[in-house]
Symmetry: C2
Subunit: 217 residues, 2 copies
Amino acid sequence: MPPRRTPVSRRDRPAKPPLSRDGVVAVALGILREEGLERVTMRRLASELDTGPASLYVYVQNVAELHGALLDALLADFPLDASDPVDLLVDYTTLLMEYPSLARSVLTLWPSGPNYLSLIDAILGLLRAAGTPSRQAAWGVDVLLQHATASAAEHGTRRESGEAEGGWEGLRAAVRDAPNTEYPHIAAHRDELVSGAGEERLRWAFAALLRGIAATS
Amino acid sequence: MPPRRTPVSRRDRPAKPPLSRDGVVAVALGILREEGLERVTMRRLASELDTGPASLYVYVQNVAELHGALLDALLADFPLDASDPVDLLVDYTTLLMEYPSLARSVLTLWPSGPNYLSLIDAILGLLRAAGTPSRQAAWGVDVLLQHATASAAEHGTRRESGEAEGGWEGLRAAVRDAPNTEYPHIAAHRDELVSGAGEERLRWAFAALLRGIAATS
DNA sequence: ACCTGAACACCGTTCAAGT
DNA sequence: ACCTGAACACCGTTCAAGT
């Protein structure tokens, strides 16, 4: 009986490595970084791993869980040593803004990976250090992270169907054209409503949130 | 030459009314209310209107625009006469919580319909009445509405694939099991992190936001 | 101008069957 | 246990052709 040989049908590829959850997430992370979350589909991922989409369900329960794993993978390199909570939150938001679709997905995901827990822990530590009462810090960290995620989903920098930009332009135009009689308060704030660079508004929002959290029992 | 007769091929249906943008939105609103945004697809909508999906593109540019129109339709009956901004914001969030998928969509939509502008106008009016400086009010209304939308997307009450609930349970479990040595601050806030009813936390968050907005220049 | 059938280019997930 | 082909049940959008 001749020895069993490995098949050579996939000549141009390196030997197919065995699948694993980490391998699946690593490949997904590569697609996310290079092409955005839109391209991270089960089918694309499967073909990248030289298999069929059904095989992936051994390692992840569904796409939502995969997205959670991607967030945690992204957070693996995120530095948590900022001493100002505003800096930490702006940095986290900036990271997420590279992946607005992931931000959108994460918003309904309640992530709970180890690196996300470390982020929560770091923010709690900074709030505690600033003297924020315990319960306000605990509720506040939720508000802060939700604002970061929602801001990234809203203002994401990636083009991604261009829909976000059109929306912002639409609101800008609507505010510009709003009749004074019907919208007196918009009229009174017309310029300020659309003023300010992204980062300036983001820093201001986090500062306001932190102040409110510290002051409201 | 015999007179042209209307065809009788669709015997069981009432005469097909001519399409219009308002008609399309009205039918979409019905499906949204009864079955949720998931079911409001171009194909479903078309079949409800007794036509093909391609026909809808005469009246709406794409699904994003349709979702914007749905939000505005939902806001048509929304009372704007609350005298406390927290009440107004909680009411708006509660409305959106009935439609978490719409909230998720709206978050990246920059809605700009007339009823949404009225909502912005009403909030600006309340901030102005409370003495908030003009620029802070203008930037603050964005933060407040974003928090409302994001909260609705996150905590939506509709079952909708049940994914949200699993996520919250997952985070709750992760917080419960987080090792003290690795996550000292989570350990110090373990109970408060997951405490409080939804509405209580929501009211607190809006109160904190409003205080921070009023106090941060 | 308004409307349409048919196609294009995809999705996530399940399941029976294989190894 | 792990893996897969094939199917199920869908999507949004475009476009050439009709009225």
